[in-house]
Structure formats: C-alpha cells, structure tokens
Symmetry: C2
Subunit: 221 residues, 2 copies
C-alpha cells in the first residue's frame, strides 16, 4: 500500500508517519522508485503499537526507540529480552533516599516468594511509592500492600499465559508492552469506576444512582 493508505488504515497522519520513519521507529517501506515506497500490514501493526505506547502509555519517543532497538538486537535469551522490554515501560522517578524502602521491597518479595532480578526498575517505583505514602502520613494505605500484591499476582499469571501463547519473540514482546501499558490504563480506569461505586454505596446508600438504569439504556458519550 501507499503512504496515503497506510495513514488511513493506521489513523496516523502522514507527517507523523514520516517522523517515525526518520526516528527509526518504523522500518522503511519497499522502494518502487526513488520517491515512492510501498508498505504492508506489518507497518500498520507497528504504527498502532507506537500509537498505543505514545498516546495511551504516554511513553516518550526516545523510550519507544530504545524499546524497538532492544527488540532488534535480541542479543540475550528470550527471558532477558522480554525483561528489557518490560523495564523500558517503567517511568523514571526522581531519585530519593530509598535504602530503607528498598529493603522493605526485598522483604516483601521474599515473603511472597517472587523471583525478581535486582535491576528490575519496578523495585524502585514501589520503594518510592512506599516512601511517599509514609511521608504523607498514609501508612494505612501501605497496609493494603499485601492485597495489592495478591491482585497483581493473580492478574500476572493470566497475562503471562496470554503472552506465552503467542508465537515468536516480537509478538511476545508486543504482548508485554500491551499488557503493561494498556493493562495499567484498564486497571486504573476500573479502579476509579469501582471506587465511585463503593463511595456511592457507602456515602449515600439510600439514593439511586444518577445514571438512568433503564434496561436498554443508550451508551454515554
């Protein structure tokens, strides 16, 4: 297909596609003349994956580029490569004194029996979160850590099974990205919806919901 069709099918504007090509995020098409290239389904899939990472995951372009370079070098074994992909999804947090919080993260992992490499950046995110909750005086929220961990464990089992059901390292790495970024977005949205529901039930149990609960209600815009 031509660039115009690639743009239509992916929903990505042509100038943005050219930018991704220049940045090496998207492989070049096959040139049919010096100024004309054709693209295929793999380009459409790559573009929708970039959009998910950039728009939904809010990943910087540089991080997306690093991630694809990891995928292309494949210089380690599959487990190590999938780890690199996952690690590139973790947001950098401002460093703080976390030695105490880091030790508590390790204690938690030992208690749960989870096998996690020392360089997994999610350790530091969790340590920062723990340290911030304590500093803000929300130790009670920290008391929910084990319930959060149990939920994370149950979901991860299912997510990893889906990932391993895919063939090939690229497809598995794509699943790591998608369950990482879109899984966060999906779970965050569901938590907010569930929180509103729980708040409504506990704070104003007598009132009916403001949503019209007709059996065949129209979707909200």
């Amino acid at each position: 297909m031509r660039m115009t069709e690639l743009s239509e099918r992916s929903g990505v504007p042509i100038p943005t596609i050219r930018y991704y090509l220049r940045e090496g995020l998207l492989p070049s098409g096959r040139f049919t003349s010096p100024n004309q290239a054709t693209y295929d389904d793999s380009h459409v899939r790559r573009l929708t994956l970039i959009r998910a990472m950039v728009e939904v995951g809010e990943m910087p372009i540089a991080a997306v580029g690093r991630l694809f370079r990891h995928l292309e070098t494949k210089d380690g074994d599959e487990f190590a490569t999938l780890g690199l992909v996952q690690y590139s999804l973790v947001r950098e947090l401002s460093p703080s004194d976390q030695s105490d919080a880091n030790a508590r993260v390790q204690d938690l992992l030992d208690r749960l029996g989870w096998r996690v490499r020392d360089d997994n950046p999610a350790r530091s995110v969790l340590a920062t979160t723990i340290e911030t909750l304590e500093r803000l005086g929300y130790d009670d929220v920290l008391g929910l850590l084990d319930r959060y961990a149990a939920a994370a464990h149950e979901l991860a089992e299912a997510e990893v099974d889906l990932m391993l059901a895919r063939e090939g390292l690229d497809n598995r790495a794509g699943a790591v990205v998608v369950t990482g970024i879109l899984g966060d977005a999906m779970l965050g949205a569901l938590r907010r919806l569930a929180q509103e529901d729980a708040t409504a039930r506990k704070l104003r149990p007598a009132k009916t919901a403001r949503t019209k609960s007709s059996p065949r209600r129209k979707p909200a815009k």
Copy 2:
C-alpha cells in the same frame, strides 16, 4: 517556621515553593513583616501532597491547581466534591470514535451492577483502552476484563473504607488523590514484579532466581 525550614522539612527547593505560592497551589504563610512569612505543618503536608501528585502522579501543575480549587469551593455535597477530585486525576486521552466501546463499558457496568455517573472520565479511558486493544489485535487481553474488574472492585472496597475512616472533606479528598495516584503506581509496580516472577517460573523453571535466595524461601504457587 521560616521558608528555609519549610524547604528542608518538605524536601522541596525554595524556588519551587515560591513557584507554588505564585500559582496558588500553596496558601500564603502568615506575614510577620512585609518580607517575612511563617509557615506551619499544614504547608508541609500540602507540599508533600503536591510532590506526590506532580512527581509520582506526573500531574500537570494546572491540573493540581484545578483540583485544589475544587477542594476550596466545596459548592456541592461531599460525594460530588470527592467525585470532582477523583475525576481531575484521570488523564486526558486523545478522542477517538468510541461509541461502540462506550456501549460496551456501559454493558460491563450494568453487568457488574456498578453505580457510576455518566460524566466519570474513567469511562472514556476504559473505552479507549478497549478500542485500542481490539485495533491492535489483542482481543485475548480483553478477555481478562472481568478479572481486572473483580480485582479493582475488591481493592476499591478497602480503599474507600480507608478514605471514609478519615475525618473531614479535605482529608478524605487527600485520600482520594493518594489512593488514586500512588495506588496506580504501587499496583503497576507490583504487576511488573509479578509478571517477571511468573515469566521466570514458566519460561525457565529450572534456573534459580538471580536474587539472593534465602534458604527458607518458598516457591510461589
């Protein structure tokens, strides 16, 4: 306390504090002379809350400002105000054609029996996620929606109980912010750690973990 001590105790640099004062995020101190103000513990708490929102939650300053203005006007009832606080935490996503996905979100909410207002922006985040998963060909991840919802529901019950255990609207609103933003960060980090553990067990069951394994650690089930 003076500005210097406020900076030390909150860990926020003085120029940043002055910026927050100018932007109205932080209430003025009590002036003891035209150029000298004193601050109290409420300023320390407010600064650590701003840091959590900006650094951990990556909220734009403008969104933090809107949130505090919601809190200060308090022109609705408590449920409505807490809703406004929660809604301000949701990231804007680029609009897309979601009519079909919105209908599926409503179907899911009906099936779960959750009471959620039509204007809760998490509906649109969830719809975008669903639409993106389908577009990327990850319908299998969508199959996990009910398990995600069950986990979100269980955690929300506990989070809302902690929130309502606090006295006063400001403290409850603070808990909504903290369990929203830091809860997302904590759960996201735990999911990544659990995913690595599950991947390690399923992909290389024979190898021992690279973390120092204490003799009494049990394998995760």
